[in-house]
Every structure is written in C-alpha cells, then in structure tokens.
Symmetry: C2
Subunit: 433 residues, 2 copies
C-alpha cells in the first residue's frame, strides 16, 4: 500500500522537482496553437481512480515523448523547450484531449518509431484505466518522408478502365482448402460472371494444399482467359503476406507472371514489413487487408482506432484498404466508415488517395445501401455472397453486377430482379435491405 | 431490421444447408482429443445478444479457418474433414473455449499467416461482443519451422559471465533529447555504477538530435572503457527498429562496431520484420521491447494476451522480452507476469529460452519483491530509478546493485542501507515495498 501511494505521487514529484530546479515542466498549455511542424494526436483519456484528467495528460505527454515517471538528473531545460509536447485541448466532458508533438521527436520514414512514441507504452500505464488513440495528423515533412500510394483511386481506375462505378470483387471460398486448380476455376467463374476483382483470403498464403507459385500461375492464366472472353480488365489479388524477403520474392513472382496486384495483411505483417514491400514494390497495386485490426480497434475506449490505422497505411503507401461495410458481418458503423473514407480520399500534401474497400458478409442485397453510404469510389467485395448463390459462383457474380447496375440506375433491386433471374435468386436467399 | 434478422440467421443457415447436402458441418466436438498435429487456442468468448456460446464458437471456428458466413457451393466434405478445426471444450461459466486447428491450415515459418487465421477477422465479428485469444500452443512442426532464440538465458549468462543473479540494466533518460555524446556519458556512468546493461528507449532510433551511427560508435567506445575499469562485461542495447532493410543494416553496423546486442520494438515493427531480423541477425542477442502491446493486451475481454505475444516472440526467436513488473508503473499483475515467465523459460521442443525482462517505473526499492516474484532469471531495468537518484546516474546505478546484493543475501534493504549510502538515498526518495 505504501508503494501504491508512492507511485501515485511520482509524476507530481517530477513536476515539483523541475519547479525547484527552475525547469518549467508542465506539458499542458491550453493557449498553444499547433504549427505545421507538429504531429497532432487526439486521445480519449480515462484517468485511473480519482486522478484528474490533467494529471493523466501530463503522464501521457511525458511517456510518449521525453519524460519518465520520476525526475531525472539528466533532464535539461533545453530538451523540454525544444522537444516537449503540448497538451493544448482537454475536454473533460468527453475525455478527449489533443496533443501536439514537435516533429523533431520522430524519425522520418520510420513508422515503428512514430508508433513506439505516440502509441507505445502509454496504453499500459497504471495512470489511466483506458486510453485510445482516436486520430492522428502527421506534419508535411513526416508525411512526405514515406512513399504514399503508387496508384491511388485514379491509377486503379485507369488500370481497370472503369470510370464511373464501384468495383466489384470476390474472395475465393471456402477460405482455405481448395487446391490451386479449383481455386483458379472459381476465380475464372467469378470473373466471367462479372467480378472485376478476385482476391485470396487473408489466411491463404502458401500452404501445401494450395502452393503459392502454382496458384499464381494457374489463376493468372484463367484471368487472361476471362479477360479475352469478357473484354474487361480482370484483377487477381494474391496474398503475399510472409516474412519480409519472402514477401518481396512473392511480389516479384507475381510481377513476372504478369500480375498487377498484391495483397498484404498489413496488421499481422506489421509496419516494418509494410514499409519494405512498399519500397520494393515492383510496380504492383497494393491491397491492404486489415485482419487482426479489431484486436486493438474494437473497444472504443482502448487501443487505436481504425481511422488511425487507415491514415498511416495510406501514408506508407497502400492503394486499397478494407475500412468496413457498415452493413455486413463485421462491426464498424456508418459514421466510422465514412470518416475513414473521407480521410483516405481527402487531400494530404499531394499524396495519392487510397481506394476504400468494403468486405465482410456482403451480398447483392447490400449494394444499394452500401453505395449510398460509400459513394461511387468503393470496392465492394463479397465472398459467400457470390459463391453462396443458389446456382453457384458464376451466377453469384452475375447477381452482384446486376445489383450494381440497378443501383447505378437507381432502380430498386426488387424491381430489377423481376427481369434478372440471378439477382432474383440472390434476393430470395439473402433478402434486401 | 430485416437485414439484421437475416444476418443473425446466416451461420445457422450455412449449417442447415450443409446438413441438407450431407456435409457434416458442426465444428463442435467435445469428444475430440487434440493430437500432436494440432495448433490449440484458448479463447474467451462473449457472444452477442442472446446468441449461445455454441453458436459463437461455430462462427469463430469457421471464420478463423475454412468457413464463411453463408453456405457456399464450392465447399466440399473432404475439405471439412481434412482441415476443419475442432471446438473441444466449452466452459459456459468462464466463457473460455478451446479450439484445435490441424496444422495443415498454416504455413510453416509464416507468423503473419498464422495470426491472420487464429487472430484475424474473428475479433471484429458482430457475432461476439468480446473475444480474446488467451493462450496458444503451436505443434512441433510449426514451432520448429521458426528459428527460436539464438542465445537464450544460458547463452546470455555465458556472454556476460554472470551466473547466479538477476541482471541489472537501465534505460538512458530522458527518453529523448540527449545528444549522442551525452547519451554515451550517461551510459558510461550507469555501467561503472554497476549496471550490466544500458538500453535505448523504445522511441529513440535515429533522430537528428541523436543520430544512430554516431550514438553506436560513441556509446560502444564508452562501454569498452567501462569494461576495462570495472572488469565486468557490459552490454549496450541499441534500438534498431525501422523499415526491415534499414533494421538489418543497423544490426550489421552494430556488429561491425563490436556490439553484442540489438533491441527491436517487436509490436510496432511487426511480425514480418521480426522474422527477418531474426533470420538475418549477424550473431547478436535480440532484445524485444513490447511498446504498443497494451493497445490489444490490456482489456482482459478483448484482443490478444501478452502471454500469446511472448510465446510467439520466443518461437520467432527473441532472446529477451519485456513481460511486466507486477510492481512498477505499468499494468500486469503477479499471476500474469509469472505465467508469461513460465511459458518463455519452459520446455518447448528443445527451443532455447527467452530471458524475462522487468521494466517500467522500477527503482531499488522494488528489487526484493521483484526477485521474489520472478526468481533469479530476470533482467531488472530501471530508467528513472537510476537517473533520478538524488546524486545522479552513477550513484543511482550503485544503489541498484546494492539493492540487488542485499536481496541476494536476503538482507532487508533498510538494514543494508544503513551501511550503503547510495541505497539509503534511493530509499529515502522512493521508499521500499
């Protein structure tokens, strides 16, 4: 108990010490206006016990930058003045606070370092019961130290020669288990039915039942055939997630076999590997799957928001990213999803945009509300919603395109379904919204 | 509302469909005994709304392996039999369940793929309100596909020539801001005072105020001097966290300058980068810092446990890892910390051990209870608890060693402090426990 009392005293002790030594050492400065040199974070803060939010903010500011839990003899006023962050807004009602960090604290082009600072130890501090990094804004010099997307929405639309509608994709199902020949067949049926895109599932990489190289060769062969038959550009997104060098080798293999896309599970791969594949990317479109994100994004009081993850992924340079559906099997409501969409398609120091992807439990019946929410610049992916069609994969893909056609023409699905049998069957099975 | 009803029906629908087609498709098999070929996960499950825990388990099993939210025409009985996971324990009281996954689902030596399966989309499913991966056991073939630690506790003890006591380390403070010359001086004082180890902070990498190369050269020079003066082996752990290739270049630079250790922020670097640095490690000891872990480990109902992270880090091959203090500034209680300790020092198919590190808000007063909790095989790191000593860094390091000496001799700190002035000052400032 004595220790607990001491621990609770420590940060105030640090401040008292600094005062004594003439070192101005409060991080709170509500008069402060962030400059173009600052990295700005918005946190939700729930202080521990009967601590004040101000005390919690001091601790967060210290631990995420230059401080520690006690006064140290090695501290200098100059460091504090040059590198100290500023807590410049505290909203006691919502628990939301804004911190500005001088960009000198950060290493350019090093996302792990940036996160180890502003999203590192602070989540584990006893001084807070809950802490969440809600939003982040990097200053121009840090943003530009990363590569950003190579294609962006514009480049992807050019590549596919599709101008004015959402793209439609599917994921080969079952998630795992098909051999590579069957995998390629399912992909082919999806394409000729009307899908623009076929992607691997997030847990399919290079397993014995479906080896990577054989899958790439066979699936891209079927893609060529589908392109010839439909006269449309078709996309295959193979999941290259692995150890970094292996990932790079896989990307090159895709390129050598005339693939145009790679897919990366950006959370389980991690930020170092993601930066590497972006830097060594041999000209391919990078599709970012977010598997595992909800381990830290879901609880709205703790962890890191999907908004932050999506923004950082764009800055590193993914061309497409899953941001939620608002209507499918995964959590993530309308407001959250549109906020993320706005962030990755908006202006950011001249960076290209990232194409929003909605995926997870979708079927044709979801398309009208989804397009209503997301607008035209969205990639709509349905796995079960294609292969689960009563008449199989190809008809499932047809139904998806019909649903999209109806939506673009503003015709209610039920009406369009009267003259479109595949859509009608899909609606009978899964309904409309 | 109609859609919501449909969504709630979907997984049961899949099962009904499979039943109709003669495909046995429940993943629950309480008679199942895991084999040596299975990867076993323990989850905490809180089903959504009035769903049963059995239904939630079916959904988790499907989404983390071969299934999806609806029946698909491409499903085959053979896939289900070969690759289907088994839910073999359900404890309705605690909400804890055990799942066994056939190892064929996973790619050897690919941690991102393993996590995208068993710790991927499932955290975001609407079917659960909370889900946590509590524990994981990989089968021998998967464990051995990774490298494991190069040194382990035994190798590190040999390297340092310290047999029977915990190691004592510090972190240069303030966290950021010192120039490289001052950084090296602070390190030197720490070593000659008695620290075995000096490490960089998790957010110090290669910033303009303290460039990496200059810091390495200068600090290792001071290390040599400290070794000469003390006759002890001294360790510097530079933080190499960065994009993968840059990280590898930094490791080689450390090696070329006669460093023996590197430090990696394993969570913000990520699993691909961690595997890469382990595979390309030029013979150095790898110290794993866990900054950002609490974003997904802290909430005990959601995310992934620190136990899982520590186990996977050992399998990939880190030699040391932060596992908590039970007594310092970070959350993580005694039971959790000792459980992680047991896991990383225990038998695992002949893999070397990982040295447990306790760091975060520690000072000399913590050493007796910490050694009581952790045993002798622990690395005790104090940053503020060294540099915050009333007489400065060197005396702070002396006090840490004195506290350790007293603890090893089972003398109460207050008694030992009567004849050890540095310890006495530390206790006056921070107390004992």
């Amino acid at each position: 108990m004595m220790l607990q009392g001491l621990l609770e005293m420590m940060y105030p002790q640090q401040r008292a010490y600094c005062k004594k030594k003439g070192i101005k050492m409060t991080y709170i400065d509500l008069e402060y206006n962030p400059t173009g040199n600052d990295l700005v974070c918005k946190f939700f803060v729930e202080p521990h016990g009967n601590h004040s939010i101000e005390d919690a903010c001091e601790d967060i500011a210290a631990e995420s930058s230059i401080g520690t839990w006690t006064d140290v003899s090695t501290m200098e006023q100059g460091i504090f003045e040059r590198l100290g962050p500023h807590v410049f807004r505290i909203d006691k009602g919502s628990g939301e606070v804004l911190l500005a960090y001088p960009s000198e604290l950060f290493e350019p082009n090093n996302m792990p370092q940036i996160l180890s600072s502003v999203a590192g130890n602070i989540f584990g501090m006893k001084a807070v019961d809950n802490l969440r990094l809600i939003d982040i804004e990097l200053p121009e010099n840090l943003v530009k130290s990363f590569q950003g997307p190579l294609y962006g929405i514009e480049g992807i639309r050019k590549l596919l020669d599709v101008k004015n509608r959402p793209l439609v994709g599917t994921i080969v199902k079952p998630k795992l288990g098909l051999g590579y020949k069957k995998h390629a067949e399912v992909a082919y049926e999806s394409w000729v039915g009307g899908c623009d895109i076929v992607k691997d599932d997030e847990n399919l990489t290079n397993q014995a039942f479906n080896p990577f190289k054989e899958r790439i060769i066979e699936t891209l062969k079927m893609r060529d055939q589908a392109e010839e038959e439909t006269g449309e550009k078709k996309i295959y997104m193979p999941n290259i997630s692995a150890e970094t060098d292996e990932m790079v080798r896989r990307a090159h293999f895709v390129k050598e076999n005339n693939g145009r896309y790679i897919m990366v599970d950006i959370v389980t791969v991690g930020f170092s590997g993601l930066q590497s594949i972006r830097e060594k990317n041999p000209g391919l479109v990078i599709h970012a799957h977010r598997a595992m994100h909800a381990a830290f994004t879901r609880n709205k009081k703790q962890g890191i928001s999907m908004l932050v993850l999506a923004k950082l992924a764009r800055i590193i340079g993914v061309d497409q990213i899953h941001i939620g559906t608002a209507v499918g099997k995964m959590e993530g409501g309308r407001r959250e999803v549109t906020q993320i969409r706005d962030a990755i398609v908006g202006d950011l120091y001249g960076l290209k945009t990232t194409f929003p992807v909605s995926s997870g439990g979708l079927h044709p019946g979801h398309i009208p509300p989804l397009v209503d929410i997301m607008g035209g610049d969205v990639i709509i992916q349905a796995g079960g919603g294609v292969h689960g069609h009563p008449e199989g994969t190809q008809k499932g893909a047809v139904a998806m395109r019909q649903a999209l056609d109806a939506t673009m023409q503003k015709i209610p699905l039920k009406e369009y379904a009267k003259t479109h049998a595949e859509l009608n069957l899909a609606i009978q099975k899964w309904g409309t919204v």
